[in-house]
Symmetry: C2
């Protein structure tokens, strides 16, 4: 039993017997110092007694997803469905000809890109930061490993890796392919980088159902776009673990609901 | 005064007067329930009394930075110098002709890239995840805003934004420039995206000394590579806030020490 669960019982026992608290004093102070050190090192607001409703706790606000069709915001919609928390969805449509995001998105965030979420006074862009925030705030401890564990660092690394590394050669391929033959000198390097990254991801998924731990986390959500774009370019052939993981993710009821609610998504087949 | 600081004093007063703890019982239990809810929602290990030395606390381990010259690992070296925590540095040299990382790095991490840190049994790649981990573990609350605040979400967004968005058009430029004239159809779009991102960053720095809050955070560290690469491509002209921020960062004693210890760094001028 944790000390936290034991303490109220000990206090109650002391109240009943009208004993002094002498036998409680040192363990309580010792544990408080330990808690305080840990909390302060994490800068946790809840340490402050006065702060009875820390910012970011569930129940006070409701996230709004500014959703662009056929974009990285599909995974945020999927995440919201997995979390089962109330949310609002605002739709934005790509220009049918240029495929660019509409100017209305610029009113939400100066970069004019999606996904962006607003939540009370908060505004967060960047998929990895949004996944992190939503899981931390509305997950009630689900969909992420416990901070302070090795799994937590792996989780956070996947959150960064998806857009920070894995997407780069896939985006290079997207751009350079527009040059047709003129881009051919770059393709050997781009192809080898795509194979390097997808091979790494495939190995990481070997014998595993999810990227981290034994259940779905934000890491699976964040990595899904990598799998989807690799699939669009028909690069998943040599990577069976990645391919079957993607199929499992797309088969989840929450993902299916995200497609129903978000409209056609050309990156899920 | 926070309740946490008041409680030991209250307990001490009770010990002295040999009073019963009745008057303490309800506030203590109420506050504990509040703390527990907050900590469990963050999955914080320190809640567990048995866990007297949670993984990730300073003092138990020492990070090792696997450092590649002229790479993103320069900023990790700078961060370690800012933190002032003991660390070990292992050097890897780019191939003089191909400029690629040496195969020895593959023994550390299958992707064969830098930065990578090892810390006890932990191994973390991806700059954003490394900055997050080091600040959280060795910062003792410095160099990051308190979790649960709007500043914390902004901090985390910059950690993701640097490599997840801002670097993409700069890397596209690096690759496509190798095609010389043949790449010219792509440059208008690449240039407009570079201007879009650098303009956004420049606006964010308007009237500010640092990206978040009133002092240096991991966000400045993580964003430095964006500024440096933009400077190498001589793109900083229209963005005076970004340019002067970069100069201030490079003038910091800890950055200077990182150059002395890491060896020549071609992206700082």
């Amino acid at each position: 039993m944790t000390f936290a669960r034991r303490l109220p019982l000990l206090l109650k026992a002391n109240v009943k017997s009208k004993n002094s608290v002498t036998n409680l004093y040192y363990p309580v102070v010792f544990w408080f110092q330990h808690l305080q050190q840990c909390l302060l090192s994490r800068g946790c607001e809840c340490w402050n007694w006065a702060n009875s409703a820390p910012q970011g706790h569930p129940g006070e606000r409701m996230p709004i997803l500014h959703h662009l069709n056929d974009s990285r915001s599909q995974r945020i919609l999927w995440l919201l469905e997995e979390l089962g928390t109330p949310y609002e969805l605002k739709f934005y449509q790509r220009d049918a000809k240029t495929r660019l995001a509409p100017p209305e998105l610029t009113a939400i965030h100066p970069l004019g890109k999606s996904p962006v979420i607003t939540d009370g006074a908060l505004k967060i862009a960047e998929s990895g930061a949004i996944v992190d925030y939503l899981v931390r705030t509305y997950g009630q401890g689900r969909m992420m490993p416990r901070p302070g564990t090795a799994d937590y660092e792996a989780y956070n690394e996947w959150l960064h890796y998806a857009e920070g590394s894995a997407m780069l050669p896939l985006m290079l391929n997207l751009y350079v392919s527009r040059l047709k033959e003129a881009g051919s000198p770059l393709h050997p390097r781009i192809d080898s980088e795509i194979a390097n990254h997808l091979g790494y991801v495939d190995s990481a998924l070997k014998g595993r159902e999810f990227f981290v731990g034994q259940s779905l986390t934000g890491a699976d959500i964040q990595m899904s776009f990598v799998g989807e774009i690799a699939d669009v370019y028909q690069r998943l052939g040599p990577f069976p673990n990645l391919k079957s993981w993607l199929s499992r993710m797309h088969a989840r009821p929450a993902f299916q609901r995200s497609i129903e609610k978000g409209g056609a998504y050309r990156f899920a087949r």
